[in-house]
Symmetry: C2
DNA sequence: AATCACTGTTTCACATAGTGAAACACTTAA
DNA sequence: TTAAGTGTTTCACTATGTGAAACAGTGATT
């Protein structure tokens, strides 16, 4: 019933197959052939043939006991080989440029990966005194603006991942225990931005806001960072509003992607 | 040229499309339509239509500058929603059962996830004095048999992930610096198994061996763990040979999966 | 035992949907 | 200008996927 507004050639079977896979991805339960064909409003024998094919490719997994289907390992394998930066950055980069132009500080986009913050994109400040951080770098969670935002607005599970020995002291200001960190997270959730005031590196301040997709899943965090000599209390809130504007623009560009 | 030996109904376009995606996943470079169609020996206009469809679904990503294709974000999204345990464990579990029966200790299967060891399956020892660990639990890398095996036989990159503050001391025997750990890894690579002799928990010994897939990618580590009072020097080597036999059997079952 | 309400699977006549050689419209380099 | 490379579109053809219906099981309920 849904119409794709596009003049490009379309391979119908492929569209159907991926619609089926996406249906599976939005469901935690395992489905049988008939049951599923009714739910997605497709012919049962077509659905059966599609699923049989996908199963033989290990894209779908057929539970040997229940004979019901779930997403298969091959899909996991393929998904793991996607170079996220290749496809994600071009959706976000222009907005980073815009924000950097307005704030005149180095702007970062970071995500959570391997229990660390992974910087996926940045735009350097044009000013002389620059922060040298590079894309692909892993940073700790508990003492960076991006890290704190990602934990504050992410799944609750993530907090429990942080063990006591993860709270490494980097500077005098680093938060080094769960109680203080939880308090900080509550504050961040209220004010909708996080500040790292020299908690990771002396003389380095950073403001970060959450970036959501259109489904309101947290996907990344956008931050501006610079030397403490330039960051003043009153400009901070201005930065937050610019970053938030940028995060909203990114939200429009990335659609429903969940990184 | 490859023939699928199966009597189940097959949807040809689907098979072709996933062959194309798999081709992409084995290549780091980005491909153009014609270039690619030649490489996979398919008709160019068919390939074009397929890629156009996959791109509109965001399964493929078209680099706006070069107009070449790579795997897209939607595939990443789908891959992330696969419940690995559902499809992986049933391939490995029977072998764990077999090994546990022979060794009479708790047997674990673990993978690397979020810079920690994630236990994906276990079979409990039938003996009275048991080790209570559960599937889904995250354990540190540097002081567990499974962790050490996974790092020793995995990508070199992984070693560099471990920062100085990751070497947390758990017992007197825990290895707490990179130099000693690197030495340990070299030893493990030579002997093809790792021992954790009370490095994580006092009184707990564990032997682990690598599990490879048919392509010889490291996919997991198989271990037997028990109280130090039961683990003796001469039985250790016997355990190693039983575990290795088990790992080989798993290798046959899991085919080319790369977890 | 017999009916019912479900499954997954197979069949087969039919026409739709995917195919591929060739032409087209570009860009870049010689 | 020519040549060699792109990506894209066209269109006649038939192979390919379709779907209603039948088949073959299973497990409850009567």
């Amino acid at each position: 019933m849904s119409t794709i507004t596009s003049n490009r050639p379309q391979n119908g079977s492929l569209v159907k197959a991926f619609a089926l896979l996406e249906f599976f991805s939005n469901q935690k339960k395992q489905w049988g052939v008939r049951e599923l064909s009714r739910h997605i409003g497709a012919n049962e024998s077509t659905t059966y043939r599609m699923m049989a094919t996908l199963e033989s490719l290990d894209i779908l997994y057929k539970n040997p006991e229940t004979e019901k289907y779930a997403l298969g390992l091959k899909l996991y394998e393929l998904g793991n080989r996607v170079d996220i930066n290749a496809s994600f950055i071009h959706l976000t980069h222009p907005e980073l440029e815009r924000v950097a132009l307005e704030i005149e500080e180095t702007v970062h986009l970071g995500i959570l990966r391997n229990n660390k913050v992974l910087m996926v994109d940045k735009v350097e400040s044009s000013m002389g005194l620059r922060l040298d951080s590079s894309v692909g770098q892993m940073s700790p969670i508990h003492c960076t603006g991006i890290g704190k935002v990602l934990v504050a607005f992410g799944d609750n599970m993530i907090t429990s991942f942080l063990k006591s020995y993860d709270y490494v002291r980097f500077t005098e200001k680093t938060i080094i225990n769960k109680a203080d960190f939880d308090k900080e997270l509550r504050k961040i959730k209220k004010q909708f931005y996080a500040i790292d005031d020299q908690e990771f590196e002396q003389g380095l301040i950073c403001v970060a806001v959450p970036v959501f997709n259109k489904k309101n899943d947290l996907v990344a965090s956008l931050s501006a960072a610079g030397p403490s000599v330039r960051f003043k209390k009153d400009s901070l809130l201005e930065y937050v509003s610019i970053l938030t504007k940028g995060a909203n623009a990114i939200q429009q560009n990335i659609g429903n992607y969940k990184i």
